[in-house]
């Protein structure tokens, strides 16, 4: 007659000892890993220390180099001050030249309007705007002047050219005032 159940196994080792064997079994598996981690971390630590020492010495070297370069630059401060003066003066002078056009150029424009028979009685120039008063001897002079003013306007140097007043005097000449705005 076969029994339906398997024969019972009786473990004679005590439960506590069995547990310690289990722990030891796990520990044996974990131990190489932990030693591996320890070795890696020691390598990392030593690499960190080496890197720190190396970087620290590089930084010190750089600081020394910077201070020596600064000293050398200070020795040449005269050159730098001359250069700074040149830079400062040229900046101011070029801005002055930009904001002030050459007034002698105005005379070239005045020459354009000097047609035969036209006499300038006076002119004034302020803020780049030119005011001219004069007299034209005859009708032809007035026509020529008008043509020259058209040419001047075409040059786009002046924005507005006006003849606010033209009157004819008894001596047959035309008195006129002219305004030219930049």
């Amino acid at each position: 007659m076969k029994s339906s159940s398997s024969p019972k196994q009786i473990n004679l080792i005590g439960t506590s000892i069995r547990r310690s064997f289990d722990i030891e079994k796990i520990a044996r598996k974990v131990a190489p890993f932990s030693y591996g981690v320890l070795i890696i971390s020691l390598i990392l630590t030593s690499l960190t220390i080496i890197a720190f020492i190396f970087l620290g010495s590089s930084s010190k070297k750089n600081i020394t180099k910077i201070s020596s370069l600064k000293e050398e630059i200070k020795k040449l401060s005269m050159n730098e001050s001359l250069l700074a003066t040149i830079d400062d003066r040229t900046n101011i002078i070029s801005s002055l030249f930009k904001s002030n056009f050459l007034k002698s150029d105005i005379f070239d424009d005045l020459n354009i309007i000097f047609v035969p028979g036209f006499n300038i009685s006076d002119f004034s120039l302020a803020s780049g705007n030119l005011k001219v008063s004069g007299a034209c001897s005859d009708n032809q002079c007035l026509t020529n002047l008008n043509e020259r003013l058209e040419d001047l306007k075409q040059g786009k140097k002046f924005s507005i050219i006006t003849l606010p007043n033209v009157d004819r005097a008894l001596n047959i000449s035309y008195n006129l005032s002219l305004e030219i705005f930049r």
Binding site: R28, T45, I66, L82, I93, F97
Partner: protein, 242 residues
Amino acid sequence: MKKISSNLIINIFLPFFSLVFVFCIFVFFLTPKFGEILKVKKEIQDQQKQIDGLTAKLNDLKSLSIPELTNSTSLLLGTLPENKDFYRVLSGIKGVFSSEGIIILSYQFNPGLVSSDSSKNVDNSSGNSMTIKVSFQTTFDKLKGLISKLEKSLPIVTVDSIKYNGETASISGSLSSVDIVVKSYYSPLPRVLGAVDKPLPKITSAKSDLIEKLKLYTDYFVTENFNQGEVVVGKDNPFPSQ
């Protein structure tokens, strides 16, 4: 039992303590040191940049030609003086008029503050100006030459306004009275050069062209020779010793 204890030490306590040790190393040493290393690395990068900048600046400074710089500086200081020197300006203007053979009838100018209370120049990046009004008589032809010369004289002046009163003056007319207002400029020098690691100002081609252009300008300044005869100070001794 002893065998179990040594096994325990090798297999349990040592790995456990090594893991604790690794943990401590990570928390208390490696993590802060990594941060510090990154910081030092950044510092080194910044220092390297600074070294590059300073080396470039030093090389630039060494490559500069001192005589050329000195000449340009004196030319530019003659063009735009650092102080309000009204005598020099007036003498220059007078020189221009003399060269054109025009006699100044009158001049009017207001030098204003010659020195401030604090004895310090007021810094103005666009330059300070001083206005001079000059009255004279000339022909229209000569007026053009005069204005042209004035605008190309040192120290620089700009013609602010021209008032020409010629009753019947034509292009080749007779003498007419003229009033011109000229502006003379000055500007204090920069007081400080700035930080050592500040890059050098660049003299661009436009600035070099300006210097070349200014070399063509004329300085009409003439030092006046005053007749310095014997100067008698005080009176003769009214009580001569007998």
